[in-house]
Amino acid sequence: MTTFTPKPDLPPPPNTVGVVGWVRANLFNSVPNIIMTFVGLYVIWLAAYWIIDWGILKADFVGDKASDCSREGACWVFIQAWFDRFIYGFFPDEEIWRVNVVFVLAGILLAALIIEAVPHKGKIALFSLIGFPIIAFFLLHGGWFGLETVETEKWGGLMLTLVLAVVGIVASFPIGIAFALGRRSNMPIIRSISIVYIEFWRGVPLITVLFMASVMLPLFMTEGTDLNKLIRAMIGITLFQGAYMAEVVRGGLQAIPKGQYEAADALGLSYWQKMGLIILPQALKLMIPGIVNTFIALFKDTSLVLIIGLFDLLSIVQSALTNPDWPGFATEGYLFAGFVFWTFCFGMSRYSQRLEAKLNTSHR
């Protein structure tokens, strides 16, 4: 009788793994692919050359007026000179520290939520959602403890963009969950209300919503009640994005197998326990790409408030471009605005990928 001994594992051939293996398998594995590789490299070289040559080598970095620039390359002096306006809008110079405090506080909270080693995540999240907005509002708006009031008309730039985006994101999420659950409810009235809400807001363009909020709404309101323009924009954006969020959440809910609902029912969990403990935690995990997609869209859509006279980052860059002292800096201005938007959106995207990997318990 022979005994069975499994053969030991051998290492794979050296040219199929590592950098060399990857290059061989992906870049030089056939004649068309080799040609494509060289064409690709050439295009990358052209682009990189222009960016380095125009953006760094021939660019001007020092100065404080337009004539300090040679105009052969980029004129980053333009960005420097307008930097405070781009970030803080028309916030009074002596009060800018208040915005900075809010930025730093937000940064600390965000870092505490993202870095895994930090304990008490639940408490930090609760503070970020309830305590922080109140502190931020009183710091930015002022009017208490001797802080000078800064009317929202003076808010602008990146600060306004972030305020709109954060309020929109935080407020539209629960609205989305509520209407998604409503649309799947067994109760006909709740279901009908949810469907009407979602289909109405998805059917109108955001620009219309903002116009309605800023022009039409005051006509319907009684004399003397003056709801702040910024708040009206926030409400419009939130309700609008809430409808999109609801459909993303509904998609996630539908992807959860029926067996999960049945198992929760069979154990005697109530509807809210079933949703809160079993269905939503699983569904939200599936929804992360869709949710972040909506958040990114919302972040970029905030620049539409330009049309109702709010000056977000993009509109303030545009107004700087029309300044007679600074003619012809559109490339630098739009590149800067684009870069800032891209940084935030890319950050959200990366964080969502990390979150997905962290929450994935199914195939470990």
């Binding site: 197998p257 067996g259 999960q260 049945e262 198992a263 929760a264 029912d265 069979a266 154990l267 005697g268 969990l269 109530s270 326990q273 403990l277 079993i278 935690p281 699983q282 995990k285 929450l359 318990t361 199914s362 195939h363 470990r364």
Partner: protein, 256 residues
């Protein structure tokens, strides 16, 4: 054994009573006048061809399916549209599914403690002790901190049984618990079920495991086209089936 059962039946407590239960899926009449009385401590196996309504029958007992006519009374509580009654009955009735239906985002231990903590309002520590006790009984305490996705099918089904037992149910319903398992894992699940039966748990099992039916069942019920066709003790049921449909079914399932 049957005579003994018959003698003591009158004195025994009725666990589940189904009277003239009817159910339709649209035009399709799935359950036709189902009458079934289950006494405390009884082990019942329901078998029959696919689509005969056997799963639907037991799913009506804890209201995963709604019956449209007739009465279902579980441990003295009548199953109506009243949410209180439904939740009361679900607390007392454990269920094990064909596809386990464990919660993949929770560990094995969390799967077991969730319902005791939230439904029975048990302190976490006590719930965990009880969960570990039942995980030991189904012989997988060492897997308590893993996620369901890391376990084999047989292990997952044993966790599902432990999860139901943690609610300390009066009745256990098994809906084809071994049908989705690889052959070498069926035995480990059946062993747990046999042990449970020996401890006196009231059980209703929908299963095709005829060996299990012969060993543990007090009564075997054969269903076809939404009706209970035959009902007998396992000895009589397998050796001396009365109905043509039963004979045909048994010949198909046993002769290979």
């Amino acid at each position: 054994m049957t005579e003994q059962n018959a003698n003591t039946e009158a004195a025994r407590k009725v666990m589940i009573e189904m009277r003239n239960v009817n159910k339709w899926y649209g035009q399709f009449h799935v359950l036709k006048d189902i009458n079934l009385t289950v006494y405390k401590g009884e082990r019942i196996v329901i078998c029959g061809p696919s689509g005969s309504g056997k799963s639907t029958t037991i799913r009506c007992i804890n209201r995963l399916e709604e019956h449209q006519a007739g009465d279902i009374i579980v441990d003295g509580t009548e199953l109506t549209n009243d949410l209180k009654n439904i939740e009361q009955i679900r607390r007392e009735v454990g269920m094990v599914f064909q596809h386990f239906n464990l919660f993949p985002h929770l560990t094995v231990l969390q799967n077991c403690t969730l319902a005791p903590i939230w439904v029975r309002k048990m302190p976490q520590k006590e719930a965990e002790e009880i969960a570990m006790k039942y995980l030991e009984r189904v012989k997988i305490p060492q897997q308590a901190h893993k996620y369901p996705g890391q376990l084999s099918g047989g292990q997952q089904q044993r966790v599902a049984i432990a999860r139901s037992l943690c609610m300390n149910p009066q009745v256990m319903l098994f809906d084809e618990p071994t049908s989705a398992l690889d052959p070498e894992m069926i035995k480990e699940v059946l062993d747990v079920m046999i042990e449970l039966a020996e401890e006196g748990m009231t059980m209703i099992c929908v299963t095709h495991e005829m060996g299990f039916a012969k060993t543990v069942a007090d009564r075997v019920i054969f269903m076809d086209q939404g009706q209970i066709v035959e009902e007998n003790n396992p000895h009589e049921f397998f050796d001396n089936p009365q109905n043509e449909r039963t004979k045909l079914f048994l010949s198909q399932i046993l002769d290979h």
